[in-house]
């Protein structure tokens, strides 16, 4: 294909129309709304079904839903989850909840956000939430323990009142 190049006339060759046009464009953009997102303060709204960081949830009564079955620990491809079950001694404080985990750790540096733990969980106790870009100053800090995971996960409003009438 041959692109025809038209000869510029004298007025155009003076460079002035280009100057004016250039100034108009830059001036318009100068006062335009800016597209920059102020990242740590503003964040992208992630879509539904986004696989962010896995956190533990409580039921509407404030009980830990996890029953330490350790399925998530076994399925976890990068072995990021480490669960310490409660052992034979029952805790009177949590009532009928039989096997609330003694300790539940997720190493967020190992986690690959695959969502297998959420899929495998029979109790709907662990969910991939919408948090991304987790930060910390040390490796130890990036291993989230039970209290932190529960605090970040919050309450899951499901309609199965599993422990209500036991």
């Amino acid at each position: 294909m041959i692109v025809k190049r038209t000869k510029l006339n004298f007025w155009e060759r003076l460079y002035l129309p280009a100057v004016v046009a250039g100034f108009r464009v830059t001036l318009r953009h100068f006062f335009k709304k800016k597209v920059t997102m102020q990242y740590p303060e503003e964040k992208w709204k992630v879509p539904e079904g986004y696989r962010g960081a896995p956190y533990l949830v409580k039921d509407p009564e404030g009980r830990t839903k996890c029953v330490s079955c350790q399925l998530c620990e076994f399925i976890c491809p990068p072995k990021a989850i480490r669960i310490t079950p409660p052992g034979p001694v029952a805790d009177p404080a949590v009532g009928n909840v039989e096997k609330a985990p003694h300790e539940f750790k997720i190493d967020m540096l190992r986690c690959i956000f695959c969502g297998f733990c959420q899929e495998v969980c029979p109790e709907e106790a662990i969910f991939l939430m919408k948090d991304y870009s987790l930060t910390g100053l040390t490796r130890e800090e990036m291993v989230y323990d039970k209290t932190k995971l529960l605090a970040l996960g919050g309450v899951h409003q499901d309609q199965i009142w599993k422990w209500k009438n036991k």
Binding site: V19, H29, F30, V35
Partner: protein, 346 residues
């Protein structure tokens, strides 16, 4: 002030000059730093971004952070460079810009003391002499770096600066034909008596501005740098404070060029208003004059910065063509026309 009057004339002159030099330096260096910030802010706005806004309110302390960063960076010297020239080049590119400021009258007077560091009779010749030294910094950097991109940058720089310097020098001749003096203070005196010289020599102003863009290596004439094709051109091999010196040199050059334009064409520290169009009689008025001068320089700096984000770079042959075949004859014709006008009606 008794002790001051007890000093001999030479001592007084030295002391006052030293104070002026320190004062100018203390104004120009922050001005350089803040023009960099202005450049970043304006470029960001033109590109629909926000620009630096993290350090301090609206990013106002960003220059401090930048300065600190360059000081803390590793000063890496590649093994293949020619060491002596490599060290010399950043200094050579920074100093001329500051030296030019010596002859520029940045205010009328403060308590009877003229606000110019050196009131030279040959002011403009001195300026052109010093400005042409600036090219050596870049050429040396290109040569000393001993690698291909800086070398190309250096070559381009020398060709470009030489061709535009001639047009620049020719363009100001009408100004001095009209004024009849080379002293920059006299140029300003003429302007507050008869009106700004941009009205008498508009073509000179246009040529001077364009040549100044070429002299300071600003877009659309930044061929020695050419981030895209020469990866930074002459300062590719530089890092840390040596790079910062080139960078500051560029902005100091812009300030010097703006100051020259203000002095030669835009009335210097004067405004065509009663009280502002004659030398100051009181100290507050002297300060006002200096502020006016700085405001004018700031406006021109804004022009320099804005233009950079408006136009693409010229091709090398277009640049040469423009310098030698357009501006040089135009400037010569301008001299002739001005001389004829002065001869017939002057």
């Amino acid at each position: 002030m008794a002790w001051f009057h007890n000093l001999s004339a030479t001592e007084q002159f030295l002391l006052v000059s030293a104070i002026k030099i320190v004062g100018v330096f203390c104004v120009v260096m922050p001005a350089v730093a803040y023009s960099v910030l202005a450049e970043r802010k304006i470029s960001a706005m033109i590109q629909d971004r926000l620009g630096p806004n993290r350090v301090g309110p609206m990013g106002l302390w960003q220059p401090l952070a930048d300065g600190l960063k360059t000081f803390l960076k590793e000063d890496f010297v590649p093994a293949h460079v020619r060491k002596a020239y490599f060290w010399l080049a950043p200094m050579v590119s920074m100093t001329p810009a500051l030296l030019v400021l010596a002859v520029i009258p940045f205010g009328s007077n403060l308590g009877g003391e003229p606000m110019v560091i050196a009131d030279l009779n040959v002011g403009i010749l001195y300026t052109f002499g010093i400005v042409s030294l600036g090219v050596y910094g870049i050429v040396l950097a290109g040569y000393a770096s001993n690698s291909k991109y800086p070398f190309l940058g250096g070559i381009r720089s020398s060709a470009q600066m030489i061709s535009y310097e001639i047009a620049m020098g020719m363009s100001v001749i009408p100004v001095f034909l009209i004024v009849g003096d080379l002293n920059l203070s006299k140029v300003i005196e003429y302007q507050y008596k008869n009106g700004w010289l941009i009205l008498y020599a508009p073509l000179s102003f246009v040529i001077f501005v364009i040549a100044a863009f070429a002299e300071t290596n600003r877009l659309p004439f930044d061929l020695p740098e050419s981030e895209q094709e020469l990866v930074g051109g002459y300062h590719t091999e530089y890092s840390s404070m040596k790079f910062a010196l080139f960078f500051m040199g560029e902005y100091a050059n812009m300030i010097a060029a703006s100051a020259m334009m203000v002095t030669l064409f835009l009335g210097g520290w004067t405004l065509p208003l009663p009280g502002l169009n004659r030398p100051a009689e009181s100290i507050p008025m002297g300060v006002v004059h200096m502020v006016i001068f700085m405001a004018k320089v700031a406006v021109l700096m804004g022009l320099f910065i804005w233009v950079r984000w408006m136009w693409p770079r010229f091709r090398y042959d277009q640049l040469m063509d423009l310098g030698w075949r357009r501006f040089l004859p135009l400037a010569l014709a301008n001299i002739l026309a001005t001389a004829l006008c002065l001869w017939m009606w002057g």
